[in-house]
């Protein structure tokens, strides 16, 4: 298919796959942490559920919601990455992801970001950065016990 490089960079197989078959797409009945994310500009909505044990480890994580391929794939990949990580590790991952999506660092600079590099293309599309980071901001809000956040 003859697509421009920019679209090809962004809409990689991994993003299309997670958009079509999102992982951990379910509600958790008794989450220890929960937040609703909202991007009013696009109408994207995401709920993130977490169970964190007494050692501060994420033992279960899931999401439900509606949004574009970028926000949905980002949420799906996020859930696969943060499971079994400590809150500290999750926070570091979020920081790295945010810096990559906003073009502050290259994905190669941090081995932890290897599985998130598909999203590095959004840095060229300022209007889409919020799509990629919505799930992570929502996760962050859940960890800080803020139940509703908005990436505006």
């Amino acid at each position: 298919m003859l697509l421009t490089n920019r679209s090809k960079n962004l809409y990689q197989e991994v993003i299309l796959d997670h958009n079509k078959n999102p992982r951990n797409y379910r509600e958790i009945e008794h989450p220890s942490h929960f937040a609703k994310g909202n991007n009013p500009l696009c109408g994207d909505k995401l709920d993130v559920y977490l169970i964190i044990d007494d050692k501060n480890v994420v033992t279960d994580v899931s999401f439900v919601g509606d949004g574009c391929a970028i926000s949905k794939a980002s949420a799906s990949i996020m859930t696969t990455l943060v499971k079994d990580k400590t809150i500290d590790e999750v926070n570091k991952l979020f920081e790295g992801f945010h810096d990559m999506a906003t073009g502050k660092i290259e994905p190669d600079e941090d081995p932890k970001l290897r599985r998130l590099r598909a999203f590095s293309g959004v840095k060229d599309l300022p209007a889409r950065v919020k799509c990629a980071t919505l799930a992570w901001h929502t996760l962050d809000a859940a960890l800080k016990n803020q139940e509703i956040i908005s990436t505006e």
Binding site: L3, T4, I70, R128
Partner: protein, 423 residues
């Protein structure tokens, strides 16, 4: 689908030479985006300006610029003449009886806020009703919501039908003696529907209801005659009729404007000021506080000249051909569904594609040089009505070509291929 219509789809259409000639007036249409020729299909958000308008604005800045209505010096007089000359052009353009009825504003939004605050606040009370159509832009909803909150008036929604037409039967039933104001757009920005404003205005006159028409999406597409339409207020923006941003017009019937208090206070809108007594300026200056957008107003006058220089009847029928062609071509895109198919709509196609979010469509189209609008189009109630989060909107102008519709369709086929959409 039968064979005959298939043939029609595959048939490429050639853009008439007159249109290609008009395109030369619009320098921006020659630029490239992502190394591809720009295909500008976001005219509903803002139309492009012809060189004639830019030259007029430039000449004003280079030669005449000064403040208006103030100085006795040469430049101020020239600026005032140009500024007031543009007002007269606009008066004739919309068929108003007098320039007293043509108030410069910053755009449609300010025009409606002016009516809501100046007329609405003074004339609405608890128990009164404001009818607002379900297809309004937020600019014709939010100011009324704010005024309703202050006055205790009630907002009642006029429903729309599945094809995006206004439900005229429901409107007749909603009309009663408590209705004071009716707000409807002439053309819907999200659906392209052209509302029967003349018929609505007649119904409103019978009930003594004041009409507030959002004409933002109409002025660029077909001629307007406010007297023939029989409306009380008509609001529009310069940048949606090939003029600059930052300027618009509120038309209001003189009888109503004369009784209204000013919306904003400041210089130019008063005859005399002392700390004991202030006398408002005459119409339309009463509503024009502060230094106005002088260059923009003069530019808007040039846009009127430009539109008047074109054969608008031909352009209207050409835009209809474009719409028909686009509607036919879009049928070849898997999973695509049009939102808004009212008969007689303007050259605008709003649509959704099964399983693909409009923002992904917008980004991929942008990569192909095709500029469309994606989202809720500042008309969330329309999206709710059709149960969708957002749409993609290709809104055409008379300078768009059949080849550009082909480019749009090709780009959409790339979207459906990438996202593996099948019917």
């Amino acid at each position: 689908m039968d064979t005959v219509s298939k043939d029609t789809i595959s048939q490429k259409r050639e853009t008439p030479g007159r249109i290609l000639e008009i395109r030369r007036d619009f320098p921006i249409l020659n630029r490239q985006v992502q190394d591809k020729p720009l295909v500008y299909l976001d005219n509903g958000a803002s139309t492009q300006m012809p060189k004639q308008v830019m030259d007029t604005i430039n000449a004003y800045h280079e030669f005449h610029h000064s403040n208006v209505h103030r100085g006795v010096h040469q430049l101020s007089q020239e600026a005032t003449e140009l500024y007031e000359g543009a007002r007269e052009k606009l008066r004739a353009f919309i068929g108003a009886a007098s320039t007293k009825e043509v108030v410069y504003t910053s755009g449609t939004t300010e025009s409606i806020n002016l009516v809501a605050n100046s007329y609405g606040l003074a004339n609405l009370k608890k128990g009164d009703k404001i009818l607002i159509s379900n297809m309004e832009h937020h600019a014709n909803i939010v100011p009324w919501y704010m005024i309703a909150k202050k006055t205790g008036a009630e907002i009642v929604v006029i429903p729309i039908l599945d094809d995006g037409s206004l439900d005229m039967d429901a409107l007749s039933e909603l009309m009663d003696n408590n209705v004071r104001i009716l707000c409807v757009n002439h053309v819907s920005n999200a659906l392209g529907t052209v509302n029967p404003v003349k018929e609505i205005a007649k119904m409103c006159r019978d009930y003594g209801v004041i009409t507030v028409i959002d004409g933002a999406q109409a002025v660029g597409h077909f001629p307007i005659d406010v007297v023939d339409l029989g409306v009380d207020f008509y609001a529009f923006s310069g940048h949606k009729m090939h003029g600059p941003t930052g300027v618009g017009v509120l038309y209001g019937r003189e009888e109503l404007l004369a009784k209204m208090e000013p919306f904003m206070g400041g210089g130019d809108m008063i005859l005399s000021v002392s700390f004991e007594k202030i006398i408002w300026n005459e119409l339309p200056y009463k509503f024009e506080a502060g230094t106005p957008p002088i260059a923009q107003a003069i530019g808007l006058g040039a846009a009127v000249d430009y539109l008047n220089s074109l054969d608008r009847e031909f352009l209207e029928s050409y835009e209809n051909d474009l719409l028909e062609y686009a509607t036919e071509k879009l049928k070849s895109v898997s999973g695509l569904k049009l939102v808004g198919t009212a008969p007689g709509k303007i050259s605008l196609n709003s649509f959704v594609i099964e399983g693909v979010h409009p923002h992904d469509i917008g980004t991929i189209l942008d990569g192909e040089g095709v500029a469309v609008r994606t989202g809720q189009h500042c008309a969330e109630p329309v999206m709710d009505r059709f149960g969708i989060p957002a749409t993609t909107r290709a809104s055409m102008a008379f300078y768009n070509t059949f080849e550009e519709i082909d480019a749009l369709t090709d780009a959409l086929l790339k979207v459906t291929e990438l996202f593996d959409v099948t019917d």
